[in-house]
């Protein structure tokens, strides 16, 4: 019990560093310190989860080894990629890492869905299910969208606009919402529709970013960034984990405001950027910015 209380305090510390770090990041003089500060808080949060969340269970040795290996592999690849990337290629790198975060959130939702105990719930119409499904959809959209943004900025994917792209997107969005409602009102727990939902979310992410021009990409990356933040917060809601909740929702709201500020800096509205590929003339002024 003592260890769990220490864990909560560590999460409190991590949450505080995120808030203060973000604040410091928004001033030129303190920005670099702020980044390191938030990183330190993150380290505390991760280490605390590893050591204090559960008393050591020798039967789960495999789990511990895999976690350690995952952390190691992720750290090494992440550091190498981030160090090697050219200064001009930074935005797509951010987009790539953002996509990884989104995928992580979606994968958590998938595993939790399989763990979902049918005996525990009389009907699926409960908040936990909603949180899980939303985590899956938002994480999935963020992942595929970020990957397309990454590919476009790298020059690997060309701008392509499907005919009636906007209509297709909107109807796809509608289908996703209907699927969520079907999944929640249905009774079977291992509904294959869950995976259909996952695929649709991935497709939606691709179609969402596809028609947006290269100059507007940072705005879209920022938007997807806040999506991933929300997905992370939903994960935090699922586990009642305050560090995930603060970190995620903070990025979710700050990211959205940042997206709007970025649009303002280009003298455009967010809607204008998102519809830019279709509006054409209206976006012409901002394109040079």
């Amino acid at each position: 019990m003592i260890s769990l209380n220490i864990l909560e305090i560590c999460y409190l510390f991590a949450s505080l560093t995120f808030v203060i770090g973000l604040k410091m990041l928004s001033h030129p003089d303190t920005a670099r310190k702020g980044n390191l500060f938030a990183a330190a808080g993150m380290l505390v949060g991760i280490l605390a989860t590893l050591t204090l969340y559960q008393t050591f269970d020798p039967d789960k040795m495999v789990n511990y080894i895999l976690i350690g290996l995952g952390l190691l592999v992720g750290s090494v690849i992440g550091t190498v990629m981030a160090k090697k990337v050219k200064m001009t290629a930074m935005p797509q790198m951010v987009s790539f890492f953002n996509g990884m975060g989104g995928a992580c959130a979606a994968l958590i939702a998938i595993i939790e869905f399989q763990h979902h105990d049918p005996a525990m719930v009389s009907s699926l119409l409960n908040g936990e299910m909603l949180v899980m499904l939303m985590g899956l959809v938002i994480g999935g959209v963020s992942f595929s969208g970020s990957m397309v943004a990454y590919g476009k900025l790298e020059g690997k994917i060309k701008d392509k606009t499907l005919p009636f792209n906007q209509i297709i997107n909107n109807s796809l969005f509608l289908v996703i919402i209907i699927l969520i409602i079907i999944l929640m009102t249905g009774q079977s727990i291992n509904n294959p529709l869950f995976y259909v939902l996952m695929v649709l979310a991935l497709i939606y992410g691709i179609l969402f970013v596809m028609p947006i021009g290269g100059a507007d990409m940072p705005v879209v990356i920022s938007l997807l960034n806040s999506f991933t933040g929300i997905a992370a917060a939903l994960g935090g809601f699922l586990y009642g984990n305050k560090a995930m909740l603060t970190g995620g929702i903070l990025v979710g709201s700050a990211g959205t405001i940042l997206t709007i500020l970025m649009c303002k800096a280009m003298n455009r509205s967010l809607l204008n950027v998102l519809l830019g590929a279709f509006g054409g003339t209206a976006g012409g002024v901002g394109k040079s910015a």
Partner: protein
């Protein structure tokens, strides 16, 4: 519907917390100069890497013989760590670049 409302009722504390965090996020970000938009985005990107904590929890919960959960969980841990570590390192490099400029001029 009743269950959904119950869930909200039970988690009211968390919902308060959530709403206040949203307002805090908005407040923290306002007045940021335009040059810092990209590093701030990158820093925020690293912060939402906290999902990795969720991935670790998933792995701790998973039964040692549930290979599917272990594999997917492992992937999630790798991706989450990529997000955290890569995010912070990229942000640091960006800000490093920012610091050098005023010295030269």
């Amino acid at each position: 519907m009743e269950q959904l409302l119950n869930y909200f009722g039970e988690n009211m504390e968390m919902i308060y917390f959530l709403i206040l965090a949203v307002l805090l996020g908005v407040e923290v970000i306002s007045n940021v100069p335009a040059i810092l938009h990209t590093p701030l985005m990158s820093g925020a990107n690293a912060i939402h890497g906290v999902v990795v904590v969720g991935a670790i929890i998933v792995m701790l919960h998973a039964a040692p013989d549930n290979y599917l959960a272990l594999t997917v969980g492992f992937l999630a841990v790798v991706m989450g760590t990529l997000n955290v570590v890569g995010g912070f390192v990229v942000t640091d490099r960006m800000l490093e670049m920012f610091k050098k400029k005023p010295k030269k001029s």
